[in-house]
Symmetry: C2
Subunit: 587 residues, 2 copies
């Protein structure tokens, strides 16, 4: 894993004027995050790194006049799930890099649930040619609910320790409180393993009460990205936890927290930014970390302070300040050029000293990364392609069933009951009452499990919708009125080796193939955004009122979010962490 | 190296109220370095760590009412050479811990030059029972001048990599610019090895010109402790190097730098404190890091900011903020209690949750640490115990010699020449002109080398003074008028297995034994301070006007500080990095 010394020697030699610089950026106003000052400099770059802030007198192979623009360090997204964009990393680059995001700290728990250790290796291999820095937050809980779900891969303590050794791993990924407060040694040992490598352990402290939060922090968890307001933030900061302010597609916490920071004039050193889950169309129309920085400035944070939050604060917290986070000598030349600091509009973006984006677009279209064949062949369905697979045989007139009551844009749900009619010795859906079937089909070819229950809130009047993205096990989840259409969805997803489907009347109405681990596609971002629109309108045409039906579908099977979850094992009472019968009684 | 999880489990359980706390500190005003705020709290401690900031309702085995005192994190000395105090770590504890210093980041290059890897191991072993945290800055250059000096031990790249793996090692120790600017791969590889462990590499950028400083920073060196004024500090900070503000016995940089920080209202995040070389009597009479904090406050730094510099800033820079630097949950319970914040006077000091010092004194006298026998038997003199060993045979009337001109309290010197008379075919000293002999006797039993030259500035009218502390090789260095007394000093140092000696007229006038590696003693600090006084007055009685003759003696043989140095190999022209003849000509 030891890199060659060559680049370091060249860098020093160039700084001494013994070798020409690769590139000289003249006429710059440098935003110096170390001194919180702005200074006019001439930047020298060699072998992808900053060789000098005083390069005027040094010779260079290339030179660029920056016309007095501001130069700031590339932005850092401190917690993101790449998979939630449905895009492969190189396609995601076309969206985020033009916005000045040059580093992602990503928790690839989705690909880990599908492919385990080898899946993580494949991701790192594929990331080699990316026009941004990708570091891994090593997924701490794969699977999330051992014994209650079937996954393609697992990461045990030994695997996590091996991955923490990688230079591309930056921390232990988010760990849910239950495992810590439950004093489960495997997870405490994972935290310790990160510390022994001088790496941090990321937290995930959603909605914890004060005493539980204190105990959670005692475990050595360094931060939280689940704060929704300034009270949440303060309660973490005072314990010594950093706050990763999140602005995703549905979770939008920036305004509340920043307004509080401004009002109380708080120390911002422990504050940084993340997106967690932000969908491609939102990134396209709104922006990425740059948008958060500009929002913070508009809310009253000084531009240099907001920039520090998006760069140096993150690099220091994650202990990479010798590599990124500031335009200091020896650091990677990840640079944003902007004419103004309010708002910051990345006109030129350099990564590793190379100009990679200009005026909102990548200069070179990313070349498709290579993924191993096995990772594109992860859908192996043994049961679920026949209508009968979704039949719930019961003799009687009427049945009382448990129903998962969902709400738009929320991942939590409520447990309800409903009465359903029995026809031909099988339970039927009730479209008038919006009680339809929900199924999870095991897709790793391991046991052919199918979990079936009932759901309220999808509003489907006919047909079915399905996805191979279903947190965190990522089996195939299907919501449907009609068993045959449900089976058709599963068949189509197997044909595509992963993806999203809408079907009705025996026909596929819309589809998006996600062949990489059944989670991601290498298709162009714009095309994916367009196809998602088609999928959503197809679902709407079947009666679904949800703004983002496939996101709702992808979270509904979580066995860890109250009150109910559904896995391939069956219906899960989340609080009891146990399987329960979807059928309460029959008359 | 993996620690048990027990303490972590107990900590979480105590925070949850499932186990009693070990100690509860009630009625406290907590200086919260994370939020820069002061809050009234009840601190809960379990297994040596902070379990809760809200412990009022938790049960505890012991409870202490702190009467509204301020609680602040223990202070951190970010760069210190323990050996320069002549005290063993446990004896040094009696001086520094009552002043609130609970963590030392120490570069034990002296013991490494004597004992190599095994010497470092012995130090870590001996440190186990200390009432403060000792982390190692792994010595980067042992020996300092390969080929120009004989040392007892060496640390090659392989050794350094092994030591960097230790949990007790925090960084790569200070690296002199020559090796970096000279592009010596061994040293660049050592820096890289630290980075690959997510540890930093400490700098030593004394008096570098701007371009050399830039190149030095390009090597990946994270900080500098040699800044003498605000211009020095600013020139490092803007490149992304932290500034370890130093206040030692002779190097006193705090006032200049802090006045500049206040004047320019600079960001203090990259500023922290160190002592480097501070002698026991100065620590006793003046204080340690607490003294620096109070000075900074007097000069206009806000108390909380000054405290952050002495604690959290240091912990973050050295990437130990999950362990120390703030009173956050999960961190070590290293706590200072003070009635006021201006000045801060440590009334009670806790280390690892134990009350170890009160009202300026350790509560329990430290028990002597165990050092292996071989480390107390490091003086093996094969030549240097006979007067003849110091005779410089020359035939003629008069000789022109090179002279090392020294100055009080400075480690640099100037090259001069002088005429000396020849008597009985040997060069004689000239006490009227204050030109006397300087010798370095190899003391590791390796080759019996003796280097002899001439020195001006010691003012000795008779006798000799000698020390086994002579940077960085730590052979025996002797300044003397009389060959017999010089030999007597060497004999006495061998008898003591290391130490300081003043001899005249064939008698030893004063002595201090330093049996641990010939560098340190386990005698009580007060006793050592007293003996040092006796040694200095004995030297004065021989005519020496220097305020600290033994410190001057310990630095004069450095082959790396201009203009001249003297090692067991002979007289060194530092700039040429070559041996030269002390005799210029004879008539």
């Amino acid at each position: 894993m030891t890199k060659q010394l060559g680049y370091r020697i060249n860098l020093i030699a160039a700084a001494l004027g013994k070798e020409p610089l690769d590139l000289k950026l003249t006429n710059l106003k440098l935003v110096n995050v170390y001194t919180s000052q702005i200074e006019s400099v001439c930047l020298g770059i060699k072998d992808g790194r900053i060789a000098s802030l005083d390069a005027a007198s040094l010779s260079a192979l290339h030179e660029m006049d920056c016309n007095g623009m501001f130069a700031l360090p590339g932005f850092i997204d401190t917690h993101v799930h790449i998979d939630s964009t449905l895009l492969s990393p190189e396609q995601l680059a076309t969206l985020i890099v033009p916005h000045g995001t040059t580093t992602l700290f990503a928790d690839p728990m989705e690909i880990a649930n599908v492919g385990g250790y080898a899946g993580m290796q494949a991701l790192i291999q594929a990331a080699k040619g990316l026009p941004f820095n990708l570091w891994i937050e090593v997924s701490a809980r794969v699977p999330t609910a051992p014994g209650l779900e079937t996954t393609g891969g697992t990461l045990d303590l030994h695997d996590v320790r091996r991955i923490l050794k990688w230079q591309q791993s930056v921390s232990l990924g988010e760990l849910d409180p239950a495992k810590v407060l439950g004093l489960q040694q495997e997870y405490l040992a994972k935290i310790q393993s990160a510390h022994l490598r001088n790496k941090i352990a990321n937290g995930h402290a959603a909605g914890l009460l004060p005493q539980d939060l204190t105990a959670y922090a005692c475990a050595g968890l360094a931060d939280d990205h689940e704060c929704v307001d300034i009270q949440d933030a303060l309660s973490r900061l005072r314990l010594g936890m950093a706050v990763l302010i999140r602005e995703g597609s549905t979770e939008r916490n920036l305004r509340n927290i920043i307004q509080g920071v401004v009002k109380e004039n708080l120390d911002t050193r422990m504050l940084m930014f993340c997106t967690d889950d932000k969908h491609p169309d939102d990134i396209l129309h709104e922006g990425h970390i740059d948008w958060m920085v500009n929002q913070a400035i508009q809310l009253g944070i000084a531009p240099i302070t907001a920039i520090q939050m998006a760069t140096w604060n993150a690099a220091r917290h994650f202990r990479l300040d010798h590599e990124i986070g500031g335009l200091g000598t020896g650091r990677r030349a990840d640079i944003i050029l902007s004419e103004n600091l309010n708002p910051i509009i990345p006109q030129k973006v350099f990564v590793g000293g190379k100009l990679v984006a200009e005026n909102g677009h990548l200069i070179k279209a990313p070349k498709p990364a290579h993924y191993p064949g096995w990772l594109k062949q992860t859908i192996k369905v043994t049961r679920g392609k026949q209508a009968d697979d979704f039949r719930i045989p019961v003799s009687g007139k009427q049945v009382t069933v448990r129903v998962i009551r969902i709400y738009p844009d929320q991942i939590i749900n409520q447990a309800e009951t409903a009465q359903l009619a029995i026809e031909h010795d099988a339970v039927t859906c009730n479209t008038d009452g919006d009680v339809i079937k929900l199924a999870v089909v095991e897709r790793y070819g391991k046991n052919g499990n199918i979990g079936i229950a009932f759901v309220k809130g999808f509003g489907l009047q006919k047909g079915a919708i399905a996805s191979s993205v279903s947190h965190d096990h990522h089996n195939i989840v299907i919501a449907g009125v009609n068993d045959a259409d449900m089976a058709l969805c599963v068949e189509e997803i197997e044909n595509m080796q992963g993806g999203l489907v809408v079907a009705a009347d025996g026909k596929v109405r819309a589809r998006l193939a996600l062949p990489i681990a059944g989670l991601m596609t290498q298709a162009p971002a714009q095309e994916v955004i367009q196809t998602l629109k088609e999928l959503n309108s197809a679902a709407r045409s079947l009666g679904c009122p949800l703004p983002a039906p496939f996101m709702t579908l992808s979270f509904i099977s979580l066995p860890t979010v109250p009150e109910l979850g559904l896995t391939d094992h069956g219906l899960v009472d989340v609080r009891q962490h146990a399987l329960i019968n979807p059928i309460v009684g029959v008359i």
